[in-house]
């Protein structure tokens, strides 16, 4: 149905934009092992995006590429957290920690989605996201407890990103309409908070006191970053309408 497709689009857009951000690290990471690790994560996440977008597109007779390359900014439904700039390595790691704990909880619950395709995509994705979560948690702890400089950088990362975590748990009309196909985002909050607090505690970091940014990426209201991301991502494809690659 159109609603299921819309839901798949949400999940796909989050993954697509995150993969786009992450992929920028390849050839720029602090050590070659991390070029590989971040590349792996980006590749996994891009794979999830492709599955979700392909599924969403079925309802509208669109391909994954139609959806990725030919929509405008206001048609993208990604959360603002995935649009946030890579910043220094610590910011990327913190963003990944935030989103992969979230995705892990979400995909785990979606294994029981009454939509079989979504359940099937999540069955594959959840294992990969589990690794992303471990990877970012391990780095968060390592950097949080590493040197004074690295601890300061992680506090900074947390402070910069925290305001965008609220949006992840906003329920939309769509979620209610979809019932057991979807997961109500608000129901993930408690588990997410517990899990991230545990990791942060081990890293010697504290949840910032700052409030939450008004963010409505799901309805196409994005941060000022998305326009730049899309300009780059779409530039080549758009110069060749109708071409195959």
């Amino acid at each position: 149905s159109d609603e299921v497709a819309q839901y798949a689009l949400h999940l796909g857009d989050d993954a697509l934009i995150l993969a786009q951000r992450l992929s920028h690290w390849i050839s720029r990471a602090p050590e070659i092992e991390e070029d590989i690790a971040l590349g792996n994560i980006a590749l996994d996440v891009l794979g999830h995006a492709r599955s979700f977008l392909t599924y969403a597109g079925l309802a509208w007779d669109k391909s994954e590429d139609d959806l990725a390359y030919w929509r405008e900014e206001e048609d993208f439904t990604s959360l603002q957290i995935v649009e946030q700039p890579n910043g220094h390595f610590g910011v990327t790691i913190m963003r990944q920690l935030i989103i992969s704990i979230y995705q892990h909880l979400l995909y785990s619950k979606l294994l029981e989605s009454t939509d079989e395709t979504i359940a099937a995509i999540c069955a594959k994705a959840v294992k990969e996201v589990d690794y992303h979560r471990d990877h970012s948690a391990a780095w968060t702890i390592r950097l949080g407890q590493g040197t004074e400089e690295s601890a300061a950088k992680m506090r900074h990362a947390l402070e910069v990103l925290w305001p965008y975590t609220g949006e992840m748990f906003q329920d939309e009309e769509l979620h209610r309409t979809l019932g057991d196909v979807a997961v109500l985002p608000s129901t993930l909050r408690e588990a997410w908070e517990k899990e991230i607090t545990d990791v942060l505690a081990e890293a010697g970091l504290e949840i910032p006191k700052s409030g939450m940014a008004m963010a409505h990426g799901r309805v196409g209201e994005h941060s000022e970053h998305l326009g730049f991301i899309l300009a780059e991502m779409q530039v080549l494809a758009r110069k060749h309408p109708g071409a195959s690659w």
Partner: protein
């Protein structure tokens, strides 16, 4: 002296030298230089392709390209490990790269200016690399030969993907076809030069052949490669920028245009279109990543201490 004769015997038998075996210093030195250059090439070689990941024109191509660049990082790691078995640490090897004391394959100092370059790099550059590397799978130094086996397997996969990119473009719109031809035009000559100077101007080759590191001469490998691409380009319906390229039945060899060895030497000296950019990107990653590596080291030390305590 006994060591030397044992070494000579192993080489003579086409057996493998292993890290624990005695080996002459020049052999160790030559291999360390060659393997680390090869590793550096994989690492620097990530850059021209990474340049297009965020702009890849389809999600499938983006995914394939990401996987490929990542494989290159992996090859870099195996090769650094192989080099380390010869007694030089990775930090030292990396330092040689960053300070410009070590070289890497000159081809990566050309820019990847359009998407079709992802095809040309796969087809021509990886193709030439494979032609160079397949014989290295039998190199006399064990860890190097074994690393090469794994590298070659993945590279030939990459080469096929590169060819496929060009094939799609050559069957695409007029503009796509032009992109493909443009990329081939730019990478043809540099890829032929990847085999190194002509045999009569390649002084170090003889020793490497005697040590069974190198198995074929530069010109032999170049011949094999040019013959291969001369056939393959027909499938693409495109041309090589070498009008008189032909097989001379009498000399039993491919006759190709004169290559611009002055340019080659100039690029090696550091003056290619992208040398400065490539090295600076590596230095930048190193500089900006310093705090991360320091933190990881500090954390590991703390962990160790708390385990001891």
């Amino acid at each position: 002296q006994q060591s030397q004769s044992r070494f000579d015997a192993l080489i003579g038998d086409d057996s493998r030298i292993e890290p624990r075996d005695w080996m002459p210093e020049p052999y160790r030195k030559t291999l360390t230089r060659q393997i680390s250059q090869h590793a550096h090439s994989e690492i620097i070689g990530m850059q021209p392709e990474a340049n297009w990941i965020t702009r890849a024109p389809s999600l499938k191509r983006k995914s394939i390209l990401m996987a490929k660049v990542q494989d290159e990082a992996g090859h870099g790691l195996y090769l650094y490990s192989a080099a380390e078995t010869l007694g030089t640490e990775r930090d030292e090897l990396n330092d040689q790269l960053l300070t410009g004391r070590a070289k890497y394959s000159s081809i990566f100092n050309y820019t990847a200016r359009n998407w079709a370059d992802m095809g040309a790099i796969g087809w021509l550059v990886d193709g030439a690399a494979i032609a160079n590397q397949v014989p290295l799978c039998r190199a006399s130094y064990g860890p190097y030969g074994r690393a090469m086996v794994r590298v070659c397997k993945e590279e030939s996969f990459h080469q096929r993907q590169g060819f496929e990119i060009l094939l799609s473009l050559s069957r695409g719109t007029e503009k796509q076809k032009q992109m493909a031809q443009d990329a081939i035009n730019r990478f043809y000559e540099p890829s032929l030069m990847m085999f190194g100077p002509p045999d009569d101007q390649s002084p170090n080759s003889a020793q490497s052949m005697a040590w069974k590191i190198k198995r074929f001469s530069n010109d032999e490998l170049r011949q094999r490669f040019v013959g291969m691409i001369a056939e393959q380009v027909k499938v693409l319906g495109l041309t090589l920028p070498d009008e008189n390229l032909h097989f001379d039945e009498e000399k039993k060899q491919w006759i190709h245009k004169d290559l611009n060895w002055d340019e080659f030497m100039n690029v090696i000296k550091g003056n290619g279109p992208a040398n400065a950019q490539r090295l600076e990107r590596r230095r930048e990653a190193h500089r900006e990543g310093a705090w991360v590596r320091e933190a990881a080291t500090a954390y590991a030390a703390k962990q160790e201490q708390s385990e001891v305590a």
